[in-house]
Symmetry: C2
Subunit: 237 residues, 2 copies
């Protein structure tokens, strides 16, 4: 293989990595803005999130195409192949994170003008703070190929699930206390679920990074603490 | 290229296609069983769905690995490359369909023993009938490379969204009528959302098949009629 081919292959890899990091920054911003829009009932910001999810989807397609063509053209060996597959997987998770932020933003538009006791939103805000931290850390870890940091994020996946389960109960309780809360709390439940799933995708990214750096697969089953789908709240007597 | 290499490449492609069809059958079964478990409140069947999602996840990994290795080893040209990329994309959608069925099954376990007026489940049952039909048709279309059938499925995506939006309103109304319905209806809302998303994945598969057969991309934005995230039900006075 000539020097020329090797270095243009390296350029392909670098370009892929750069696109993923760029996409990560965009997805992170969508998540932060969608939650800010929810907390501040900011319809304009919500609209912006909905529009800006488009470029994130486009980037995912670009990354997938570039990855496939690079594999087909360069026949990369194991290490480089891992690098390319990891880029595709991370882009896939980021695309879904963007979609989830968009869904939250759409619900903000549905809630405009509704009675909206700030208390009800607190739990969602708190949970999304934690998830955003996880997402930021794992994206930094990806950019710097820091496996230890990724494993830390991965271990903390359970924290979000525990928070989500208790938030699920809390929101159900608000609904039972006052039926006027039902419409709002239903949307908040879906927002909370969106955020919990964003946390899952952050965990996926941690797993992908670990595989990229070490060639090993983190435990096949991550620690799962989200039991909300198993939650049943009795009607208060 | 020798006859030998060509035919073992064909064998790779056929094997990939066969695995995707197998995975499709498994995912379809999980969806049907999860809904049956919900309607009949069958905890045993729900458990089975949860367990049998594991093999679906494994198949997805196998397909991805095989696809990547085939691309790297064979340097396929455009048509064959499309075939391989399509297999990866469809497997990705099927994996998510399996997850969504599993999530519905988990909610069945949460609801065991609860007061459960059969009326409330009717809407979810009806909607999932439609989605299962869509899924079955698109999987048959994939197996027989029938683009026209795939486009038909794609065009009907809006039907599921319309149904989901009206179901969303209906379930919210039941909650407001009687707070004892809140816990059940909340889980049903998530089940309905799972099923609606399964419909989205069926539509994705139709898009992938169209791209595989024609090399063209179906309209970048599919017709979107799910406005439930924009739905706000006023408290009945």
């Amino acid at each position: 293989m000539t020097e020329h081919i090797v270095s243009s292959f390296d350029a392909d890899l670098k370009d892929l990595g750069r696109k993923v990091v760029e996409m990560g920054g965009q997805a992170e911003r969508l998540v932060a803005d969608s939650v800010a829009a929810l907390v501040k009932r900011d319809a304009e910001l919500a609209q912006k999130v909905i529009v800006l999810d488009g470029p994130v989807d486009l980037l995912q397609r670009e990354i997938e195409e570039k990855a496939i063509l690079t594999i087909a053209r360069r026949q990369p060996l194991a290490n480089d192949l891992r690098e390319i597959v990891a880029a595709m997987r991370v882009a896939n998770d980021l695309e879904r994170i963007g979609d989830l932020a968009k869904n939250t933003a759409k619900r903000v538009l549905a809630l405009t003008g509704e009675f909206h006791p700030q208390k009800l939103v607190r739990g969602v805000e708190h949970m999304s703070g934690l998830v955003l931290e996880q997402l930021k850390e794992v994206l930094d870890a990806y950019a710097s190929r820091n496996d230890a940091a990724a494993v830390e994020v991965w271990k903390r996946d359970g924290d979000v699930d525990v928070l989500y389960t208790s938030l699920f109960r809390e929101l159900l309780t608000y609904m039972m206390e006052d039926p006027r809360n039902i419409s709002l709390c239903t949307h908040l439940l879906f927002c909370a679920k969106n955020i919990e799933r964003i946390g899952d995708h952050a965990t996926n990214i941690a797993e992908t990074l670990h595989y990229l750096v070490t060639g090993q697969i983190l435990a096949d089953e991550r620690p799962k603490h989200d039991t909300s789908s198993l939650t049943s709240v009795a009607f208060p007597s």
